[in-house]
């Protein structure tokens, strides 16, 4: 995504915070949970691309393999799916502020962790999130009474379908991670035994470097140097 496109998307998504737009989105449970809240997390992801290098590297230093970021994002997304928490965010200003700020931060955290986390960890976290979204979706669809006092029963059913769909999407992304990981392993096995070591260096290097430098020329040249070296006997 180009910088201009990213900034344009940020401006567009910021429109959700205009009081009239926010009230309209919050008025319908499905729009709120299935469209509005994911958009806030997406906004966080886009904002992460605008953060200066020193912020990202400081974050990376305290976030081993992206575990803290992924845990934070999973916790935030899970929390706002709890009916009482969602109701509280609609009834009290403090909870509303907490909801939007934590969702925004979870987007930042996810984007930051995405390039640093090993595929296996990403797959584990995304798999869990997919399972949780699908479970919540089915519960919302099958509940006989209103789970959120701020919304009508028919909206709850529609929201359940939307959350289940999100579960499938996130599950597909998790599966994509598995396939991508397997392909990388296969490609590594065909190049040279030391290629595995080069991957390890890139990951371990990226723990203490901002994402761009981890995938940048230095890391790549380091990998090439190691790959070019004669295999150990």
């Amino acid at each position: 995504m180009t910088t201009i496109a990213r900034r344009g998307a940020i401006v567009l998504l910021l429109a959700w915070f205009i009081p009239a737009a926010r009230s309209a989105a919050e008025a319908h449970m499905g729009v709120h949970m299935v469209v509005h809240l994911p958009c806030i997390a997406l906004l966080g992801g886009l904002v992460a691309g605008e953060l200066p290098e020193w912020v990202l590297s400081a974050h990376a230093r305290h976030d081993f393999l992206g575990t803290a970021s992924l845990t934070f994002a999973a916790a935030v997304l899970s929390f706002w799916m709890i009916p009482v928490a969602l109701d509280a965010s609609l009834l009290w200003g403090g909870f509303s502020l907490a909801k939007y700020s934590t969702l925004l931060l979870s987007g930042v955290a996810l984007r930051s962790a995405w390039r640093r986390a090993p595929p296996a960890l990403l797959m584990f976290m995304l798999g869990n999130l997919a399972w949780m979204l699908a479970t919540a979706g089915l519960l919302f669809q099958q509940a006989e009474s209103r789970l959120c006092v701020s919304y009508l029963a028919d909206q709850q059913e529609q929201t359940g379908s939307g959350l289940t769909a999100w579960g499938i999407v996130v599950g597909a992304i998790a599966l994509g991670q598995v396939i991508a990981g397997a392909r990388r392993r296969d490609a590594g096995a065909h190049v040279a035994p030391t290629a595995h070591a080069s991957h390890a260096v890139e990951w371990s290097g990226s723990i203490f470097k901002p994402p761009s430098s981890a995938c940048g020329p230095k890391a790549r040249s380091a990998g090439r140097r190691r790959s070019a070296a004669p295999p150990a006997a």
């Binding site: 305290h62 916790a75 928490a85 209103r146 009508l152």
Partner: protein, 203 residues
């Protein structure tokens, strides 16, 4: 470390919100809080169906009040509120027979459209006896909102010009504390609970 902190914060906040991972909805939490005497009704100025002004839940300074079963209705409602009216009539007859000191109070959630005339018509339809059952509306929208906020009664438009709200039968003790909330179908349990509180003097 940061990861553990995230997890700990998530678990602690969720545990608090769900009252120990036991209650996942706002209504379940509200009923739990009511059972722990954590919800107190604020003094609320009402206008009754006869056009008189009254102060509901006036506070302890005015002495111990009778135990009350309170519901929230609007007179244009032809479904749930109508059923509530029938149930309140049945409770009224039982109170009359048992000569208990329990009072019934129906409060309108639509103080703008429910005037004294509308409430009186609702009362006549359900044969309300003012000696046992008071029908009233908050004197202002602000008073209505304040009462709903204090009790956790959430009223939302139903999309057809009417309203939907949580909770059904609220039992208040003599100190205006919300002691229990019952579903529409549990009017007998609600009345039994209120009569037990009334006869025990509700500490």
């Amino acid at each position: 470390m940061l990861c553990a902190l995230c997890l700990a914060t998530f678990i602690a906040t969720s545990a608090h919100m769900t009252r120990g991972f036991q209650r996942w909805t706002f209504e379940a939490v509200r009923r739990h809080d009511a059972s722990r005497l954590a919800i107190i009704a604020p003094p609320t100025a009402l206008e009754t169906a006869s056009g008189q002004r009254m102060l509901a839940f006036p506070g302890l300074a005015s002495g111990r009040a009778p135990v009350q079963v309170v519901d929230f209705v609007y007179t244009r409602c032809e479904t749930v509120c109508s059923v509530l009216g029938i149930e309140f009539h049945q409770m009224q007859e039982q109170i009359r027979r048992s000569r208990s000191n329990v009072r019934l109070l129906s409060i309108s959630v639509d103080p703008v459209r429910d005037g004294a005339a509308e409430l009186a018509r609702y009362g006549r339809r359900h044969r309300a006896d003012a000696a046992h059952w008071t029908l009233a509306r908050p004197e202002s929208v602000a008073a209505s909102t304040s009462l709903h906020d204090a009790l956790g009664v959430i009223v939302i438009p139903d999309g057809f010009g009417g309203f939907v709200h949580n909770g059904a039968l609220h039992v208040f003790d003599g100190q205006h504390r919300l002691r229990a909330i019952f579903d529409y179908s549990q009017w007998q349990e609600a009345l039994n609970h209120a009569e037990r509180l009334s006869s025990a003097g509700a500490p």
